[in-house]
């Protein structure tokens, strides 16, 4: 087999021309597009990472805010419970004092009423005793006895 050097040279020149043309007009634009795409992807990834971090920070902030709000709510509830207990104790104390006062009033009133009734009964009993005694004496004293008593009464004047 015989090597045709002209043919080889022609093929080499042809290859060089094609290589040059392809490099100049095809490879570089494609590379440029690929680089731009890679840059965009890289930027996108960075933005996504930044977004994720921001979201994570936001989540953390939210958690902290919720925890703080819960603590404050717990404090408020605790304070409200303390206040309510104090208020309830005060109301209870006041109610007890009023009930005691009212009960004392009722007891005093009852005692006064009882004393009054006792007085009335004693008075009635006394009146009844006197009336009965008078009646008994009127019925039982003889004329002689009445005269005798009258005589002794008159003697007091002398």
């Amino acid at each position: 087999m015989e090597i045709n050097f002209m043919q080889v040279l022609f093929q080499a020149v042809n290859f060089g021309v094609i290589f040059f043309v392809l490099t100049k007009f095809l490879y570089k634009p494609i590379q440029k597009v690929l680089d731009e795409r890679a840059l965009k992807i890289n930027d996108g990834l960075k933005a996504a990472e930044a977004n994720l971090k921001a979201q994570s920070d936001l989540e953390e902030t939210k958690k902290k805010a919720v925890a703080k709000a819960r603590r404050e709510a717990a404090k408020l509830v605790s304070a409200a419970e303390v206040t309510a207990k104090a208020k309830a104790a005060e109301v209870l104390k006041k109610a007890r004092a009023e009930a005691k006062k009212e009960a004392e009033g009722i007891v005093n009133s009852a005692k006064a009423s009882l004393k009054d009734q006792e007085k009335k009964m004693a008075s009635s009993l006394k009146d009844l005793t006197i009336a009965t005694t008078k009646k008994l004496l009127s019925d039982s004293l003889s004329a002689k006895e009445i005269t005798s008593i009258t005589n002794s009464m008159v003697k007091k004047l002398a």
């Binding site: 008078k134 004293l141 006895e145 009258t150 008159v154 004047l157």
Partner: protein, 72 residues
């Protein structure tokens, strides 16, 4: 001159001596010439009640019982 009156309420008829004693007492209080008006009042039980110029001298058994009731 208007004659003064003394009212005497008695449980039963007084004897003359008792009446005299009472009359003397009346004279001692307001002087002579006082008219003694006597009434029987059986509610007195025994004794008498004498009223001279609005002043009452209660010497009745009934009055004694009432005074006793006041003291009790």
């Amino acid at each position: 001159m208007v004659k003064q009156k003394a009212q005497l309420r008695v449980a039963n008829q007084l004897s003359a001596s008792n009446l005299k004693t009472i009359s003397k007492f009346v004279e001692k209080q307001v002087g002579k010439g006082t008219e003694l008006v006597v009434k029987i009042d059986q509610q007195l039980i025994a004794g008498f009640k004498l009223t001279i110029n609005g002043v009452e001298y209660d010497h009745s058994l009934s009055g004694s019982l009432e005074r006793l009731a006041q003291v009790i």
